[in-house]
């Protein structure tokens, strides 16, 4: 499984010279001491998840597009443990693997079809479809909704 991750990472790396300029790394993931980095293209290459919901931090309905955490972890062959996510300002949360479902949360890279700047809580934002179920409207889900995400550490 790590192989796949490596392949993806490698692919990402191999793709780099192909772009007009070197892409920014949006997310770095540490699995068992190994750190992988993901640029926007790499994330976009993975299965796309999209939903529309309101959030407690924004006004009106927002459409979020991204990759599900479940899909990302599957890509990295992670099936248990605790996912520790940290933001640019070092805000950090932990999500036990058991709490992750196939649909939620997602690591959104588009909001209302647009990339998110740091000022808009981007470039990556862990979000839940808050409107679909009450279990997404509690403090745990809110605290886990980390914005300005830049790194993930998978802990055993």
């Amino acid at each position: 499984m790590l192989n796949i991750a490596k392949t993806v990472a490698a692919a990402a790396l191999t793709l780099m010279p192909m772009g007009a300029f070197a892409e920014d790394v949006l997310l770095s993931v540490t699995v068992k001491g190994e750190t992988l980095t993901f640029e926007r293209t790499a994330l976009e290459a993975m299965p796309v998840a999209e939903f529309t919901t309101t959030t407690i931090w924004t006004e009106g309905e927002q459409t979020f597009t991204g990759v599900t955490l479940h899909d990302l972890l599957s890509e990295l062959d992670v099936q248990d443990g605790v996912i520790k996510a940290t933001a640019i300002n070092d805000y950090a949360i932990e999500i036990p693997y058991a709490d992750i479902t196939e649909d939620a949360p997602i690591i959104a890279y588009l909001r209302n079809g647009e990339e998110m700047s740091v000022r808009d809580k981007g470039p990556l934002w862990v979000v839940y479809p808050y409107d679909t179920a009450p279990e997404f409207r509690n403090e745990v889900a809110y605290s886990r909704s980390i914005w300005q995400l830049d790194r993930i550490d998978i802990q055993e």
Partner: protein, 844 residues
Amino acid sequence: MESLRRLIGRRSTFVSAVVILLVVAIGGQTIWRLTARTWTEIEKLAIANADSSQWSLAQLEVEYLALENATLAYMAGRTSDLGNIRRRFDVFFSRIDTLSYSQHFAGVRSSDMIGDYIAQNRAFLDTYVPVIDGSDETLATALPGMFEDMQELHQGLRATSLEGVRVLAIESQDQRTAVEGALRYLGTIAIVLVGVLFAGVALLSLIVRNSQRKTEEIEQTQSRLQAIISTSIDAVLVVGKSGRVIDYNGAAERIFGYSRSEAIGVDIAELIIPDHLRELHEAGMHRYLSTGQKRVVGKGLVRLEAKHKDGTLFPVELSINAATSRESGGEFFVSYIRDISQRAAEESELIEARDRAVAGEHAKAKLLAVMSHEMRTPLNGVLGTLQLLADTDLNERQKRFVEVMDTSGKTLLEHVNNVLDISRVDAGKAELSTRAFDPLQVTKDIVRSLENAAQKRGNKLKVTALAEIGTVTGDEARLRQILFNLLGNAIKFTENGRVSVEVDRDPETKNVEFRVIDTGIGISPENTDRIFDDFITLDTSYNREVEGTGLGLGIVRRLVRLMGGEIGVVSEPGDGSVFWFNLPLSEAADLTQSDCDSASTSTLHSGQKAREILVVEDNEINRMIVREMLLQSGSNVVEANDGEEGVQKAAQGQFDLIFMDISMPKLDGIAATRMIRNGDGPNAHTPIVALTAHALADDIQKFRDAGMNDVLTKPLSREKLTKVLEKTDGYAPQEDKSNSVVRELIETMGAEGAHKLRVRACSEVKSGLEQLQQDVGANVELSRIKDLAHKLAGTAGIVGFMDTRKALGALETATGNGNRSQLASLAKIATLAFDRETADISGA
């Protein structure tokens, strides 16, 4: 009553069901509403935000300080990297952005101070975004100015943080209170609902228990009813509208012979109704079902006939009532039927027994009457012959024997007479005649006839009328008998005293009251009650002196009652007694015109007048016999002891007939007759009949020559006496043929024709009789008198003047014998009879 209670019960059940439903509905709705509200509150609680909000607020300051640090580091020359400043700016920007737009901060934002502060920050950010996004040189140049501006933001930062904490704390406090209130409310409602639920359960169980009890009651009633029906002695049949048997009890099986299974479902008409009543039954059923008109239904006990299985008919008592039931589809009939054949048999047996007893009683009385009558005739013969024997030459001893026999015979005769009277009344043979008479006159007559007896005992007799009595209608003969008896008793039990009779009329009841008052020995109070009973004789020592059967007063009481009156006695022993009795004797119509037309002047009493008869007889027993016989034939009797007294009495009053003994002391019968006939007294023409034992042809001629009309030979018999009476005055009290003749006449000719004929016959006979009296007085040829009498007798007979006809018949016979001396009196008798009988016509 029961149905009313049931109705109320049903209604209350219905009402309580509605109430329960209502309570449940309201409760349910309340719970729903409250639950929804609580749910919302709880959900709000679930969407917790306070923590992250406060953290976000605090983080604002942290992000600011991070930006300030990065700026200071660059300005102090500790680093030449502007990237860190840019990132920190962006993060701070993002934080302000969140504060500006997050709905969690809506409450916080509403604080003016925070609003102003957000605006201040926004202005700062907007100013410096181009600088941050610009080139490094620009940024580096602008950095000191930006730092200055940043210092201004720093001052409001902590105040905003604190204000935010305060607002959020209030918000969460409010929310908690709301949740608490909702929960408390919910709890209360839950308790109330549990209470209501319990109450509902209790009510429900009450209703269930009630209905259970009712069901039990109904079952009990039903079983009781079933028991009543099945143990009923009477047959109980329940019949449907169609006439088919629905129910049939054990008694019905016994009475009608059909078993229950045989009877159920069969038409009652075929089952128990006799053929002759079937049509009636069907008509009745039809009438009732089509019109609702009831004849037998609901009318209580009806007596009918019913048919047994074996076809025999028997009497039953039946009671039917109609009822309705929802189950059996409308009306049905409940009938109770009682077999009364036993009772009917007993009834008829009883009636038969009673009839037999009554018939037996009648037969007994009749036997007694016949026996005593048959005994009396030979007894009269014995007594008469005994008298003849006494007149022969007897020695002293033989005379004593004859006297004893006389006394005994007399007593026996009295007994027989009394028994005869009683048996007549008791046998219902006694009929009351209704003729007009004067009660006062009757009383006076009786007193006169008893004067001798009273004198013998030294008693004085007196009659007093206390009121105007006048003429009354009633049975004169019976009154005589009563008075004779009471007066006889009074005289018997009084010595040297007074016996008086008072006649009075009760002003209210109009009854005529008689009081027989004596100064005799009296009756003790304990005996006054039973003195009227049969065979009662008081004071045995006295009885030896005064012989009696003890039947006298019994007869008197019977007669008084027979006539509708009352009798009683008041007495003081030693002072005397008062026997009183009253009789409802109605006042007779006054004296009426008795002629053929209203112009006539002749007047007579309406109705029959009793004969006045003088009996001249020296022998007491013979006198008594004649008196008794005459009294019973309805005559008034005056007695005379010898010829001399006879002539005297004949001079005092008018008599219809005189019986004259031949051999008497002082003046014999022949001499007395001559004196009467030759005198100018009222009885010169009165028929005189000789009483004699010597009935030889020569003697008879001698009597006739003396002026006697007939001869009665001793011993006397009722038959002989009646014959003489009929012959002399044509009087036949037992029979009244005239009525039947008149009736026949009316039937033949019609009432008016009969009347006209009678009026014509009346004037014809009237003038004929006048002619006849003239002829008799004028010594006209006997054959002419005979023809006239014959013709008149025929006319009188046709129109029903039977007494007149008889008298004329006697006259006709007398002319045949050539006895002229008799003709005058017979003609007079005929005229009197005619006057009496024509009185009826004027009334007709």
